[in-house]
Structures are given as structure tokens and as C-alpha cells.
Symmetry: C2
Subunit: 615 residues, 2 copies
């Protein structure tokens, strides 16, 4: 296209953004207008994308990190001919896939955006997949706002991208100088962004973001850059092209006050159609999925192994039969035991250093490229990536997470290192599965099941060695549980998971010596929970006691309670959980102080049984 | 001290770190040894701190961001004469305040560390307090490891500190080039750190971190720097001074293999006592707490106001009578309505831009300096700061948080902007209080109560206007609830909070027309929950139905269930919650699609009542 046509296309995108927001009576037209020329040149001259085949492996990826500028994205789709005028005007309406912020309900959207600062880290994940896994020359284009450059996650990604020399990653920064509530910190100081990005090793280009020739040249330069990612830092006007709102405060996130006049000022409605360049048919080099049984290690019943050890070994074994499995580490692979995967499959191991947001974002990006990432760090530090996990659910990205060092049982390191809130966080994630093994063979089997999960999976592992209870050929279906002790004389059911299963078994022995019989359930699947078996236990015994190395809120106690939240008569419930702030102590002391060790369980049961007798 | 003495002191700190870890048989001596000289010079020549008066307002603050190097901190305390040899050797033992990672159980520790990348953002909060609130010349010293420089939160803080010209903030980076599992990205490339920090506007000094004269000069230069923060970037050896571990991989987080030989190599046990300089007696200029009644706005019953509006107004009013109240914004003050506070009290309003980790960290830092910060952003985006909130609880920092734009009721913006997991996150925080008002007058009163909370408080506010139900003089104690409809004929109790209270009332009207009577409870205090009133409702009606604009896990349904987790016979429970992934739609459509609007509630009650009749 000639520059004049590119400018026309830019105006069309603006008009369409204004129209969409006007039809919706909400949305962010001014944030779309600033980036319209940046989008127009990208679509017309640089993006290689087969809109008929969004799953074409050679397609470039476009991530609108400033997701609130969705009207621009949808205007680009109209220009590409994949949505029509009627659909454009369904923006933000009930049932329309043209949501307020983009989601994968549209086939051309790989990942949901709208929580700022996530597009670049996810783009890093995609570019890593392109460079190291797909080995295809597709480019990843990320369009960011300037406000979101304040997010720390951006700088995790900036460092990572430069370190990995992701030269097929281009960041476009739409520096319109106005945030939601007023000017940004840096205003139009493009140098400020360039200095910072440059200091991390990026190639940077500063341009006038409304000069289509300059934009074109910058994208060309970005495409040619080798060995490092490029940032195109563009000075733009929010609301560009409509005098009433052009570079004015007070017009964020609302339709234009006079849309008809604005459309006229922008030159009226156009219907320029861009024939977007398609990618070359790629030579696929992706590792095929090897067939065969997974040769996970087998652990001898009665031995002692930490579930984190079993996780690492099982993941490595899984990787041997599935070429799509990748592991992502937050510089704790020696602790989470993803190091075992690194040793077996170094080409599919991604080190994110201590940057948990990038850790999860890398997994999301690789998942969007068809891989099955397992990302692992301490359970406590997964909270650092909570917003990324939440958004991964919106992105329908079935990443698998492992949080190690669960609970007070880690011992001396103290509360900063203890995962005590992770089950609550992960249960709440939409469509998630939460697994918490107590044994090495169970862990191995659950890792295999995680590879089949449709949504986000979470495995909670423990630091210390624990007895192996189950044989290596036993299965542990997701949504199941195991009844470990059961008799007709059971008075109380004790439900544990992970370390508390072993404490419950010890308590059962203590109580058996007093002729008090309890049922013991291993609730290895915390979500979904085995409501049927819990109901049987509720029918057979007087009370269910949950015991968990986790805060009392949101964990196993809540999961069990939820199983009875269907209007049926409920069993009596008691929950033992970590209600204090732990300090340093040995694992055994920790469990005792928290009141979740065998002695505490036995004491609780004695009390409950006593009450029953009195009643 | 002469350089020779400083070197001796450094060796003493090393020896003590080795001894402490050996006594504990765990801990991080090598990470302590790299920073020993940096610590020695700071304590001997630059820190101004009255160890007898940790609350002295003029004290410098020292934050050990690399909290795993706690043996170094405790060795410094021994050198300062505030702990003795016996206490040093209680390191990591049950009952000792010398925990694996520092916590405020020690009077000289302001905030807990151990989750990396948090010390600098919290230090920014303290330095902001010093500069803008206390107006005292104390310095904030933050000692970071090099690994943690990969955390995005560090760069949020770096930008913030430079922008605010925090020249009394000094970052010391202990570049020992070895992380937990191997070399860091940058190794000993001090320039890499200096370039980045410099690009953000910091003054940087690169030194040999074992040259006490160079360290001394660098601290001197940092102290003299004006208008910008200073980073002292120090090349060090992990395990410095003991050949077996000096700059060697594989010795992270474990005691030295041959402690006695190491101590000998380090020159043996010493007992150098540092007479730490005390700060000058400051001229206190802190705003006194004004007395008087809080003149919160009063809302007319029957009117309509959004709870976020009421929050902003109430916070501004609170600020008028309490000079210690500050507000912290994540560039959404126009949406959360902290803008009202900004207008009334601009000197106590802190803009963090879109950097939610820094938002919460600033609050923690100011809380540690005695202020009462209210930090607000969208409820959804508070998940970005989950790890900081978790650690704030370990720090015993009673910060107050407000999350706006709760639930699907926000309407068209879609799931990325909806707080649907926030109650679960906040309930799980140790010692937290979770409040969720449905009405403007209630909001105003709850904000007043938040100012009295001992721990972390959370207020969940709503975007849209809602009817005012309560008079302006009614009180809403924390831990209470309100029974809004009640009669002897009640069949079912419907429990809502926020927007669902209004839906429940509408459902009650619909059902009353069919002569089905329900009790309606406004559960504005989600944690602690009013177990007594819930028990009364359970006794009086056949079933409790919770209705919440939140995920089914960890929210109001779980909070109500927990009230019955004491072994008593339980009521029948049903929970209505957001079980789907919302898209764009109007608020009314959203509530309907999620099954939490009046119609859905009425339908659920009819079903339950029908079942009861059949039974």
C-alpha cells in the first residue's frame, strides 16, 4: 500500500473504533485511536497471518497487551475481512465474541488480555516456543500501552527476551502519554523507555507513531534485527484525529461525546480491505509425540520418598514419551526437582530465573503454541503469579503448575517459604484441578493424569520424605480419593492429604489402641472432590474431620464442605488447619504447633467421640 | 574503625554465620559470607540506629531483602551487642526469634523478608514516609541479592524510587554471581546492573564488595547523593573466606561441610563490639491526629450510590480526623474513588501507577513507619500483589486494602476486570478481616472500623450504584451481619453480600407474592463471620442459601460453611456463585447468566421448598 492508503486505513480503524464504542456505549475508543496507524501498517505490510487458518503453525502472533484497545483489534479484523460491519457493532453485547477485552472466544486471539503488563511476558513464551521448540520463523508482535510499562512483569519479560536473544519478538509501545487517570510518569519522553530497554539489551527505535512511513521503516528494521528483540517506541496522541478528544484528559474508557461529528472529522466510514500476507508453508520440525508406556519410576511400598522427588522423576519420564511436554523453572529446579527434567530433556527446559510472573506467562505462551508446559516453583511463590494464573483461565490455557514446599512441614525455613494459601488460590481458578499427593507412586500417576487435563492443573508437593503407601500399579483418578482405614465400627472419619494422611494413619493407630476406630481418607484430589465417597463416610460415621497443612480458609476443609453444599442434610464437620503464624522449628514441631499432627488428630477424635457418647 | 578492624569485623560476621548455621544444621551461611564486609562497614560507619529504641523515629532502616542471609543479620545484631552468643546459636530453633528468614519477632526487624524482591519495594514505602510524611533525614538501606534482581517488583521499585527522587534510599546489591541452583544470568557483570539502574535514573557505584575502603567510600557517596537514590553494586564471592566453598556451586542453603576448619580459616571466633551511631533526636513534624467525629457523608435511604463512591468519600473524611491515614493508588484512583482522598489530602496521597506489587509494598513500608495506609485498586488486580499481601501478614503489617469492581456486576468490561477470586485470596490471609458492603452508609461505617483493625483489612466495593438500605447512624460491627427479612414463617435463609443482598431482597418480594417466606441476611462481614446469627437462621429455617458474585470456592459459601465447622449438627447448605466464565454483557445480564440474580435465587428457593414439601 502507498502511504496515503495506509493513512486511510488508519482512519478507517479509528472510525470503526468510534462506531463500535458508540454502539456499545462503552469501551476505549481513544486508546484505540492512538495506535491505529501502528496497527494499520502492521496489518497491511508486516503481519503474516492466514486468517482462514488461525492454527497455521507459521502464523505470526499478535498480542494486544493493552487489551482495553479491543475496538482497534476488532477494526483490524474487519479490515482483514474476517468480521463484517454488523458483527463489529455487536461489540460488548451479550453473546458477542467481541468482548470488552479480547479473549480466545475469537479464533484469532491466542490469549486473553486486559490485565495490563501480561502481553509481553506471554509473547516471550510464544517467541521461546518459536525459537527453541517449533523452530519456525514466525514473529511475535506485542502492542503495549505506555502506562503498563510500569508493571514489573514487563521488566521480567524484557530481561528474559534479551537474554534469550528473541529476535523474532517485537514490542510496540504506544506512547500516548495519558493513562486512565491522567498523564503517565514519563509522558512523551520516548528516550526514557529506550534507555531502559536498551540497558537490558534491546534494540530500540523511536518514531512518530502517526507517521506511516516511519512506522513501516521501523517494523522493517525490527524484522531485520538479529540476536536481540526490538522495541518500536512510538509517540502518539490518545484520541488522535478528533480534535475534541485528541491528546485530552478525561476521555479514557468512554465513547466519544459526539460520535457522528467525530466520524465526519475522520473522513467517514470506509471499507478498505487488507489482503493480509500469509506465512510460507513451514517445514515442521516439531518433535512427534513418541508412543509407548510412560516409564515412571516405581517406588517400593514401605520406602520413603519425597513427593517432590517423585514429581521430578515422573515429569522427566512423561517428557520421554511426549515431545510436547516442556518444563519451566523459576530458578528453584533443584528444589522442585524439575532439574530431573532438565537433565533428561535440556532442549525443552526453560529457565526463567526468579521471576514467577514470567514463569507462568512463559507457560501460557507455550501452551498457546500447542505445548504442554509444567511450570514449577515453591507453592508460596506461585502467589506471585496469581493474576497470571487467573488470566490463564480466561485464556483457556491449560497449563500445569507444581508448587513445592507445601505447608509448615517444610520446617525451619519459616513462614515466608511455606505454601499455606496455595490450595485456596488454585481451587478458585476457573476450571482448575487441584491434586495433593501423599506418596511417590501416587505422585507419579497424578503427573500422568495432569497431562490429560483440559484446564489448569495444580500439583502440591512436599519437601520431606514420606512413607510410600501405594503400589506402583495403582491408579488415582482425578476426582477420586482413597479410603485407607475403614471398618463397621468407625466413629469418625479423618480426611487428610499429603503429609496429614500419614499423621491421620498414625492417629488411627494411637486410637485403635484405645479401641476407638476411625476411617481415614486420603483426599489426593482436592478439586474435583469425591463427593460420593465423602457422603458414604458421612453416612457411616458421626463426624468428618479434615486435617490440612494449609490455612483453614479455602483449603481441604472448604473442599469437603463444598461436597455437601447441594441441599442434602450435612454431616458434622470439624477442621484442623494452620491457624497460627508459624516460626522456625523442625517439621515435627511445626505439625504439632499447628495442631495437625497425629497427637492433635487423636485428641480431636477423642473429644468428638466423647461428645457423641454424652449425647 | 580502621580498615583492618572493619575486615576483622567482616570475618567475625562470617564466623558467626558459619556457627549459627552449624548449630541449626540448616540455613544460608555462604549467602551471608558474601555480604559480610558490606554489612560490617554499614554497621560500623554508616547506620544510625538506636538499638535500645527500635521505635526511635530518627533511626535508619535496614531491610535484608535477601532474607535467607539471616545469619548475617543476626551476626550484625551480636556485633551491635543486642544478642549474645547463646542466642545466636538458637538460630532456627523452635521458640527462637532468630528465624530462618527475619520476621518482626525481633524488635529490630521492621518487615519480614524471605520472598525475594520485596525488600526494595517496601524500602521505597519507608523512604516515601521519611521524605513526605515524617520529613526526617533517616536513611533506608536495602541489601539485595543479585538473583532477586530478576523479580519484576524490583523494577517497579526502581522506577518509583527514581521518580520520587528518594535520595535517602540506598540499595546494596550483593553480586555473588551464584543463585540457588547455579550462576545468575548476569554473573559478575556489574555494568549490566548499573546500566539498568542508571537508565531508570539511579546513581550507581560499582565496587569490590570485599574492599572495606571501597565500601566505605561508596556508602559515603550514597549518603551525599542528592535528588536520586543510589545503588552500590558490589562484586562479591559467595562463601568468601573459606576456600572449600568460596565461589563454589553446590553450597547454597546448607551449613558448611567442615565448620570447625572454616572457623579456623576465618581466624577464629571474635567478639568485636560495634558502638552503633545513634540518630540525632529528631524534630518531629508528623501531623498530629486531629480529634473529633468523622464527618463521613450521610446517604439518604432509598437513594442510589455505588459503594466505591462511598468508600472514597469515607476515606477522605477519615483522613480529615486522622493525620496518620494515607492513601495509595495504582493509577485507578478515579475508578476506586481514592481520588476523593487525593483531593482532600494531596500530601498524603501516593500514586504508584500501574504497579500493584509496589502499591502494596508501599503500604507495608508506610505501615512499618506507623502510618495507616489504605491501598486500592480493582479487586481483580490485587491478585497481582498476592505474595506481598501474604508477606504483609508475616510482617504483622496491618495495611488496609480496597478492591473495587467486584464480580460480574461490573458488566461489559468482561472477566479480565472482574474480581471473582479476591474474597478467597483475602480470607486466607492470616489474621485478615474481609468486609463487603452493599450500601453507602454501611460502607462509610466499615471504613471507620477498618481504621481500628489489628491486622490486614479488606473492603470489597462495587462499581454500580445500589440502593441505600441503611440509615447513616446505623452501626455495622466487624463480625456482625444484618437480618433484613425475617418472620416465623421463613422456610429458607438467603445469605448475600454486596450486590446479591439487593437481589435477595428482590427475590424475597417475588417469593412473598407466592406466599413463600424467606429470611434474608446481609453478610457484610465475611471474615470474621457472625456464626451466632447464622446458627439462629439455621435453627429457624430448613436451608441456608448463599448467593455471591464470586467463584464458588473460597468465598461467602465457604465462609458460611466454616461457621458450622465446629462439630455441631449442620444445616443444609446450597451455594449460588459464578460457575461460568463470563463474557461482556450488561450488569443485569451478567447476574442472570451467573445464576445469582433475583430470579435465580427465587427459582432455587422454590426448588428447595418443593423438596421440603415432598420430604
Amino acid at each position: 500500500m502507498e502511504n496515503r492508503q495506509l493513512e486511510e486505513l488508519g482512519q478507517q480503524l479509528r472510525v470503526d473504533a468510534v462506531r463500535a464504542a458508540d454502539a456499545a456505549q462503552s469501551g476505549h475508543p481513544t486508546s484505540s485511536m492512538s495506535a491505529a496507524d501502528l496497527g494499520a501498517v502492521l496489518l497491511a505490510h508486516h503481519l503474516r497471518y492466514d486468517f482462514d487458518r488461525p492454527d497455521h503453525p507459521g502464523n505470526d502472533r499478535l498480542i494486544l497487551s493493552k487489551g482495553h484497545a479491543s475496538p482497534l483489534l476488532y477494526a483490524l479484523y474487519r479490515a482483514a475481512g474476517v468480521i463484517d460491519d454488523d458483527e463489529l457493532l455487536t461489540f460488548r453485547q451479550d453473546g458477542s465474541p467481541l468482548e470488552g477485552h479480547p479473549t480466545p472466544r475469537l479464533p484469532w486471539v491466542d490469549v486473553a488480555t486486559g490485565s495490563l503488563g501480561q502481553g509481553l511476558p506471554i509473547g516471550v513464551g510464544m517467541a521461546l516456543a518459536g525459537q527453541r521448540l517449533d523452530r519456525l520463523p514466525y514473529r511475535v508482535w506485542v502492542l503495549c500501552g505506555d502506562s503498563e510499562m510500569a508493571e514489573g512483569s514487563i521488566w521480567e519479560a524484557v530481561e528474559h527476551a534479551a537474554y534469550e536473544r528473541l529476535d523474532r519478538l517485537t514490542l510496540i509501545v504506544d506512547v500516548n502519554r495519558l493513562g486512565q487517570r491522567g498523564p503517565t510518569r514519563e509522558g512523551w519522553d520516548l528516550d526514557a523507555y529506550a534507555r531502559r530497554l536498551g540497558a537490558f539489551g534491546w534494540h530500540t527505535i523511536e518514531i512518530d507513531g502517526h507517521d506511516v512511513a516511519a512506522i513501516d521503516a521501523a517494523y522493517q528494521e525490527a524484522t531485520a534485527a538479529e540476536d536481540r528483540p526490538t522495541a518500536v517506541i512510538a509517540r502518539t496522541h490518545k484520541g488522535r484525529g478528533v480534535a475534541e478528544v485528541d491528546d485530552q484528559e478525561g476521555f479514557h474508557g468512554r465513547p466519544l461525546p459526539h460520535p457522528e461529528r467525530a466520524i465526519e472529522e475522520l473522513g467517514g466510514v470506509r471499507s478498505i480491505r487488507v489482503d493480509v500476507a500469509r506465512p510460507p508453508d513451514p517445514v515442521l520440525t516439531t518433535t512427534a509425540h513418541a508412543a509407548g508406556e510412560i516409564a515412571a519410576p516405581r517406588y517400593r511400598v514401605g520406602g520413603e520418598t519425597a513427593t517432590r522427588d517423585a514429581f521430578g522423576a515422573a515429569l522427566a519420564a512423561l517428557g520421554s514419551v511426549r515431545g510436547d511436554v516442556v518444563a519451566v523453572d523459576g530458578e528453584v529446579g533443584d528444589s522442585t526437582r524439575t532439574a530431573a527434567f532438565a537433565k533428561a530433556h535440556p532442549d525443552r527446559y526453560f529457565e526463567c530465573y526468579i521471576a514467577e510472573q514470567q514463569l507462568v506467562a512463559a507457560a501460557v505462551g507455550m501452551r498457546a503454541r500447542g505445548y504442554l508446559p509444567f511450570a514449577a516453583t515453591f507453592a508460596a511463590f506461585l502467589t506471585r503469579a496469581h493474576d497470571f494464573i487467573r488470566m490463564a483461565a480466561v485464556s483457556e490455557a491449560g497449563i500445569q503448575l507444581c508448587g513445592s514446599h507445601a505447608g509448615v512441614a517444610i520446617g525451619q525455613d519459616g513462614p515466608s517459604q511455606m505454601g499455606l494459601e496455595d490450595i485456596a488460590m488454585m481451587r478458585t481458578v476457573h476450571g482448575s484441578t487441584v491434586l495433593y499427593p501423599c506418596d511417590a507412586n501416587q505422585t507419579a500417576r497424578l503427573v500422568q493424569h495432569m497431562a490429560q487435563l483440559p484446564g489448569i492443573g495444580y500439583l502440591r508437593t512436599s519437601r520431606g520424605a514420606m512413607p510410600v503407601l501405594y503400589g506402583p500399579d495403582e491408579d488415582f483418578p482425578v476426582g477420586g480419593c482413597r479410603v485407607l482405614r475403614s471398618s463397621a465400627a468407625d466413629r469418625v472419619t479423618v480426611i487428610g492429604a499429603g503429609v496429614t494422611v500419614h499423621e491421620a494413619l498414625k492417629a488411627a493407630d494411637l486410637l485403635a489402641a484405645e479401641s476407638i476406630w476411625i476411617r481415614v481418607i486420603d483426599l489426593y484430589s482436592v478439586k474435583p472432590v469425591d463427593a460420593e465417597t465423602l457422603q458414604e463416610a458421612a453416612d457411616a460415621t458421626d463426624c468428618l474431620v479434615t486435617v490440612e497443612d494449609h490455612r483453614p480458609e479455602g483449603g481441604i476443609g472448604d473442599a469437603v464442605a463444598e461436597a455437601f453444599a447441594d441441599g442434602r442434610p450435612q454431616p458434622r464437620l470439624v477442621r484442623l488447619a494452620v491457624r497460627t503464624m508459624p516460626a522456625s522449628a523442625t517439621p515435627g514441631q511445626q505439625l504439632h504447633h499447628a495442631g495437625i499432627d497425629a497427637e492433635s488428630i487423636a485428641a480431636a477424635v477423642r473429644l468428638l467421640v466423647g461428645e457423641v457418647v454424652v449425647a
